[in-house]
């Protein structure tokens, strides 16, 4: 495809304000046919807002959007969808009680006249999924609510590619995917590019950006800082553009001797996890690595008593213990930040304050009355240190950007200061600057004696943070690696033989 003179999508002078927040200020940007434009910026910089304007979900206060040089005023996602614009949302929206086929084809069901055939829909969905390379990850007849976070993300991606898209925007599509799916996705994006589709790609992961982008646009506080051809810029420059200064080193692990064993599992078996044995000591950071579906989240939930342990033993601080519910776990000094922030962690229609203090209320109350001043002090400490961007502590979490929501989840558990802290994908969607802060906090917690078990699909994070790396595969521990292991070592343990072969071929 030759590059057209007229960009497929262009924004001119777009501004958008929300009560108390300038989300976008005078942004002008072009996306051309057959290119991948990466969009970067800190959490709350306005990336998702920009995409919501493109797909008609929000209307700009000023400025306008053009498609093929013609101004368009899409007043609903339906209109934008019709014009060939697809935005793959940051938070996957899944229809819980219908199958994957219907989820993928939502709004554009394959039918003859008005007639809908489930068998035909599944057949087409199976074909479509196979064409796009996700056949072994997504069962077409599973119901929406049964999908794992990664699967939901993939369904969201698939939905965005139905019909005849002209512009496809991905809003952090990889935040809950592991490398295997990321590779499939990138192959897919390459295909879209080759077909002359205009692609917008939002991510906080530098590695991905340089792998996939042709040009990179950076937003800061709602304003466009600049656009760079991918070949002519560097990570450092991008970081400077995003945060306005240089960052310190990402990981500053100060090695030290771990103390007593805090948690030890022996042959723990649940419905999806078998014979897992592992220990975490005071002041130690243990990372759990593995592919999507390896059973890491399940293990974490078993530890906190949310999933029943069928056999095996669990010892906490020297005592054999059996959790009946997360209530027991929290009482016993275990904190757990789950991976799905929206479904499992956030009270969306409450403020930042309520969300952050949720697990600490008992400690903050006397005679059950919450000491509001102490509460505010605690919350504002974490709002500052994690740089949670919100107009006030009372802002409903629903209105925060994705990354800031993630920080709220983390703040809840950091504030609680448990003896054992389990973090499941702690930095999903968090920007580079804040990531560094979070790593710093995790490091300080370890130094002060907290035992940490961190589940992460981002290998650099695993390698940078961990004292020890436990790798899981198919619900079992497939090996253990010391700090500073390589990505290849981890992957070898995480993947089954035939997958490695596939990968190699």
């Amino acid at each position: 495809m030759e590059k057209n003179e007229i960009p497929v999508l262009s924004l001119t002078g777009v501004s958008k304000r929300f009560a108390g927040v300038r989300a976008l200020t005078d942004v002008s940007l072009d996306v051309r046919a057959g290119e991948v434009l990466a969009l970067m910026g800190e959490n709350g910089a306005g990336k998702s807002t920009l995409l919501r304007i493109v797909n008609g979900d929000h209307q700009p206060d000023e400025g306008h959007v053009e498609l093929d040089g013609v101004p368009v005023h899409h007043t609903s996602p339906a209109a934008a969808h019709h014009a060939g614009i697809r935005v793959i949302a940051q938070e996957p929206e899944i229809i819980p009680h219908v199958d994957v086929a219907e989820n993928v084809f939502a709004g554009a069901l394959p039918n003859r006249g008005r007639l809908f055939s489930r068998a035909a829909a599944r057949r087409q969905a199976r074909q479509f999924i196979a064409d796009l390379g996700f056949a072994d990850v997504i069962p077409v007849d599973a119901l929406g609510r049964q999908l794992s976070p990664a699967q939901r993300q993939i369904v969201e991606i698939l939905r965005g590619l139905t019909g005849k898209p002209r512009v496809v925007a991905f809003d952090e599509p990889t935040s809950s995917l592991s490398d295997h799916e990321v590779d499939i996705l990138f192959a897919l994006i390459d295909r879209l590019r080759a077909e002359g589709i205009a692609v917008v790609y939002v991510s906080h992961r530098m590695k991905e950006i340089f792998r996939i982008a042709d040009r990179i646009a950076v937003l800061r506080d709602g304003a466009l800082v600049g656009v760079r051809p991918a070949g002519e810029t560097s990570e450092d420059e991008l970081v400077r553009m995003m945060v306005g200064r240089d960052l310190d080193a990402m990981f500053q692990r100060t090695g030290h001797e771990p103390g007593e064993v805090v948690l030890s599992l022996e042959d723990v078996t649940t419905d999806d996890v078998s014979d897992v044995s592992l220990t975490v000591r005071q002041g130690e950071i243990v990372a759990l690595a593995g592919l999507v579906g390896a059973g890491r989240s399940e293990l974490a939930k078993a530890i906190v008593g949310d999933v029943p342990i069928r056999s095996g033993t669990m010892v906490l601080q020297g005592k054999r213990i059996r959790m009946k519910s997360p209530t027991d776990a929290v009482r016993a000094g275990i904190g757990f930040a789950p991976e799905e922030r929206k479904a499992e962690a956030l009270i969306l229609d409450r403020g930042v304050r309520d969300n952050v203090s949720l697990a600490s209320l008992r400690r903050l109350s006397k005679l059950r009355f919450v000491n509001q001043r102490a509460e505010r002090a605690l919350v504002s400490r974490f709002v500052d240190s994690l740089r949670i961007k919100a107009p006030s502590m009372e802002q409903h979490v629903r209105k925060l950007s994705g990354g800031n929501q993630q920080k709220v989840v983390l703040a809840r558990w950091l504030a609680r200061e448990p003896a054992l802290l389990i973090l499941d994908e702690p930095t999903r969607g968090v920007d580079v600057g804040a990531k560094a802060e979070i790593y710093g906090i995790i490091n300080r917690l370890a130094e002060s004696g907290t035992a940490l078990l961190i589940i992460s699909s981002e290998l650099p994070e695993v390698i940078g943070l961990a004292d020890r790396i436990v790798v899981m595969k198919d619900g079992r521990v497939s090996g253990e690696l010391p700090a500073r292991a390589t990505e290849e070592q981890i992957l070898a343990l995480a993947m089954s033989e035939n997958e490695i072969e596939e990968e190699a071929s």
């Binding site: 996602p77 019709h82 899944i94 219907e102 007639l115 809908f116 119901l143 929406g144 419905d271």
Partner: protein, 343 residues
């Protein structure tokens, strides 16, 4: 992805029955919820029938069928409204309105016009609900509680609070109330046809699937380009029409237009039937088959209570207790863990 390949069923555990044998597959198609309802229904029938063999008389089965016709119609549309994520409490008084309008217009202009007028009024009443909800942004419960009162008032106003007309000699109304086709009472036919249409639309058309999508996750539906507002308006309009159709049946059965007394409390029964039949009140989940099973079960229950000659005060207790027991059995079979609010 090995885990998935090896145990794809178990890991999708809570509700997904693994699909192995043919029986299993059939059960799956019916749904655990419905199987449990069926079991509860069979148990109830066995209990009643063992003491009172008259229960199985064809005439008694017809009695049950005709007794549930009115409530069944309302339960069907309530199911559709609930699937969409809404609720319509006004169906009871819309039925009353339909009853008086059909009788009054009938008196002047005959049965056909009477029935059409009633359905037309129902369409209007339903649209008013829809508009108030969508454009007035009034929560569906509050909106239809308000129109429950308002439509009742309108029915009383047009009828001056009196039973209207006399349809007991009109061939059409008599046919509705007491006629039969192929030996099956007309009332049962009407209920069955409406149920079948609703079932087919929900299951085999994109309209129906979109209703599930909207009720399941309206953001997903909206972002996927479905015009949610249009669906809400249409579904409430249809609910109004079917409610007034139920009103026409009330007129036919009682021989006159009943402004309120014939339809009071039907709305709660309709919601109960839908919920008992497995509709999640948050929307997006439920089937017409489940609702119809529940309607039948409630009808059998009422019939059995009378066969047993239970004192009416005990009837209330028995009805409540049996309702709870039926659902408890149903839920415990599904093996859901016992934490938090059940849906």
């Amino acid at each position: 992805m090995k885990a998935t390949a090896e145990a794809p069923e178990a890991e999708l555990a809570p509700q997904a029955v693994p699909r192995r044998s043919g029986v299993r597959r059939a059960l799956d198609a019916i749904g655990v919820q419905n199987v449990s309802l069926l079991i509860a229904l069979v148990a109830l029938v066995a209990l009643i029938g063992s003491k009172h063999s008259e229960f199985f008389l064809l005439s008694n089965i017809e009695v049950i069928g005709t007794a549930i016709a009115v409530m069944g119609l309302l339960a069907i549309v309530e199911t559709v409204v609930i699937l969409l994520g809404g609720l319509d409490i006004s169906v009871g008084s819309a039925a009353g309105l339909g009853s008086v309008v059909s009788a009054m217009v009938f008196t002047h202009s005959g049965a056909t016009l009477g029935i059409l007028a009633a359905l037309g009024v129902g369409l209007l009443a339903g649209l008013v609900n829809g508009v108030v909800i969508v454009y007035g942004r009034v929560n569906p419960v509050v909106a239809t509680l308000a129109t429950l009162a308002a439509y009742k008032g309108v029915a009383q106003l047009v009828s001056n609070g009196r039973a209207q007309g006399y349809t007991g000699t009109d061939a059409a109304f008599v046919f509705i109330a007491r006629g039969a086709i192929a030996g099956i009472p007309t009332l049962i036919w009407i209920l069955a046809i409406v149920a079948l249409i609703a079932h087919l639309v929900l299951r085999y058309t994109d309209l129906g699937r979109n209703i599930y999508a909207i009720g399941g996750n309206d953001t997903a539906a909206r972002l996927a380009g479905i015009n949610i507002n249009r669906y809400i308006l249409a579904v409430y309009a249809i609910a109004g029409v079917v409610a007034t159709l139920a009103g026409v049946l009330i007129t036919a059965r009682t021989g006159s237009g009943q402004p309120v007394s014939g339809s009071e409390g039907l709305e709660l029964q309709a919601v109960t039937a839908a919920a008992l039949g497995g509709c999640a009140l948050q929307g997006g989940r439920g089937t017409i088959a489940g609702t119809m099973l529940a309607v039948i079960m409630l009808g059998v229950l009422d019939n059995g209570i009378i066969l047993f000659g239970v004192n009416p005060f005990w009837q209330n207790v028995a009805r409540g207790a049996l309702l709870v027991i039926a659902v408890v059995i149903m839920q415990l079979r599904s093996g859901e863990r016992r934490v938090g609010m059940p849906t």
